[in-house]
């Protein structure tokens, strides 16, 4: 499974390369807009598969207000799903609000895990 670290790394590479950036950035914006999660009131980071220890740990490290807001968005989305409604344009999430609130925690955790693996396998040269 691709780690979040590797995805961010690939993303940074695309952003650094003008040719790739001019293709991928508009495509990504279009993809996010049309995938429709913002019309359910969700942020992109709400879609991250959370049934694994890393994400669970990251969620436990979120500040209280962030976790409250996340739960509220989840409930809104569930309600929209049950009632087969989409949020009106003024209530749907704006692209500017779609911030990566969980990603920094995931990257930190993956860096910790990577460091542990590195130190577990370190070879001492005399």
């Amino acid at each position: 499974m691709a780690s979040h670290t590797s995805i961010v790394k690939a993303g940074d590479f695309i952003l650094r390369t003008p040719a790739l950036r001019s293709i991928f950035v508009p495509a990504a914006k279009l993809f996010c807009a049309y995938s429709g999660y913002r019309q359910l009131g969700l942020k992109f980071d709400d879609l991250i598969h959370e049934e694994n220890p890393t994400v669970q740990k990251a969620l436990s490290r979120l500040p209280k207000d962030e976790i409250y807001a996340r739960n509220f968005r989840m409930l809104t989305a569930a309600q929209c799903g049950i009632t087969h409604h989409l949020l009106s344009a003024d209530k749907a999430l704006k692209p500017s609000e779609d911030t990566p609130y969980l990603l920094p925690y995931l990257l930190e955790l993956e860096a910790e895990a990577a460091e542990r693996v590195e130190l577990d396998n370190v070879e001492v040269a005399k």
Binding site: S60, R61, P63, E112, E115, R116, L119, V122, V124
Partner: protein, 367 residues
């Protein structure tokens, strides 16, 4: 002294941090940084304990895991302990590791990152463990009560974080900013070359610590005597007395504690533990009798009446001096007390704690 100390050099050149280096034979060195940030200086109850537990966590230059693993590879070990006077950050290591350990401890003082998740994930459970293991001992419970009865604030503050007063991460950070300053920090090294140590300290983050006032107590705190505390508790019963001591009387009580726990005294059969704990500008002599309540009651009555009648300590000065010298060998800071002139002791006012089956333990006025 018992070890062959070659030279002891003190210096405060160039920076306000006091550095004491003692050369010694052998391959092992000890580096201790004493910070005047013990529970007596705590801004909130338990904050110094939590800060002590925050030491050697993630810093901006390396993570806690890396610090531990690197130190393991170099054959050294870190520890951070707290008492009422100070937080001690110490490292035991092989002599050649000195630069690494000076740097590592300097980074802990200067660059600890205080990440929000470390408090609930690592620091609080560790602090809770400290408190739980300490509370398993009735001696600790009794001594906490004796300290709080004898000094109320300052030295009477609880040693460990118990969650009664909530301490947030910001409180810990603010306390760290206040105590980790040049004048409040003292470096004590054993088995190192003083000149090399000074060089490494200059090059490390220790020389970048902000300037600030030392917190060390300069005057004797107010003593409270004649206080009685009784607390019901399950388990063995304990009766304890304590006397707060001025620095001028340290020698007497040092000898007394040694005498009462040695076969020189007939009372040693009845006494479970007697200790004299010295802090800057004040000390506390405490004496504990532990066991089944009715036995404790008769023992404590016997001990207190004997002490009130007066004891001659001149026979125990030699024993106390040897004991002190032995303790100084392993102590971070050797205490310089001259016990040779101690004559006799008479118990005056004292504080009393009854803990356990208080129904069967005597009251202070019955002693």
């Amino acid at each position: 002294m018992l070890s062959r100390r070659l030279a002891s050099i003190q210096s405060t050149r160039g920076y306000a941090t006091k550095v004491t280096a003692t050369a010694a034979e052998g391959r092992v060195s000890t580096l201790t940084v004493k910070v005047n940030a013990g529970s007596r200086y705590a801004t909130k109850d338990g904050v110094s304990h939590l800060l002590s537990r925050f030491n050697f966590q993630n810093t901006r230059s390396r993570s806690a895991l890396r610090l531990t693993r690197e130190s393991e590879l170099l054959g050294g070990v870190f520890s951070s302990t707290v008492d009422r006077d100070a937080i001690y950050l110490s490292a035991n290591f092989l002599k050649e590791g000195l630069p690494y350990y000076v740097n590592a401890i300097a980074d802990v003082l200067y660059k600890t990152s205080f990440k929000p998740h470390e408090l609930p994930e690592i620091v609080l459970p560790a602090a809770k463990y400290d408190l739980t293991t300490a509370l398993a001992s009735p001696y600790f419970k009794a001594s906490e009560l004796l300290y709080s009865a004898s000094f109320r604030n300052g030295l009477g503050n609880p040693l460990y974080y118990d969650g009664v007063e909530k301490v947030t991460l910001d409180d810990i950070k603010a306390f760290a900013d206040k105590v980790y300053v040049k004048d409040n920090v003292e470096i004590i090294a054993k088995g190192v070359d003083a000149k090399a140590l000074n060089g490494f300290v200059q090059d490390s983050a220790l020389s970048q610590l902000p300037a600030g006032a030392s917190l060390a107590a300069t005057s004797t705190p107010k003593f409270y005597e004649g206080v009685e505390v009784r607390e019901r508790a399950v388990g063995e019963s304990i009766s304890a007395i304590a006397v707060p001591v001025k620095p001028a009387d340290f020698a007497t009580y040092e000898v007394l504690a040694a005498y009462l726990t040695s076969p020189l005294s007939e009372l040693s059969q009845s006494i479970s533990s007697a200790s004299f704990e010295k802090y800057s500008q004040a000390g506390l002599f405490s004496l504990y009798v532990k066991g089944e309540a009715s036995a404790v009651a008769s023992s404590i009555k016997k001990v207190v009446s004997a002490l009130k009648g007066g004891v001659n300590l001149s026979s125990a000065t030699g024993y106390a001096a040897t004991k002190l010298a032995l303790a100084n060998e392993s102590a971070v800071i050797a205490s310089e007390i001259d016990v040779a002139n101690v004559k006799d002791f008479k118990l005056g006012k004292f504080n009393y704690v009854a803990l356990g089956d208080v129904h069967n333990l005597p009251y202070a006025d019955e002693l």
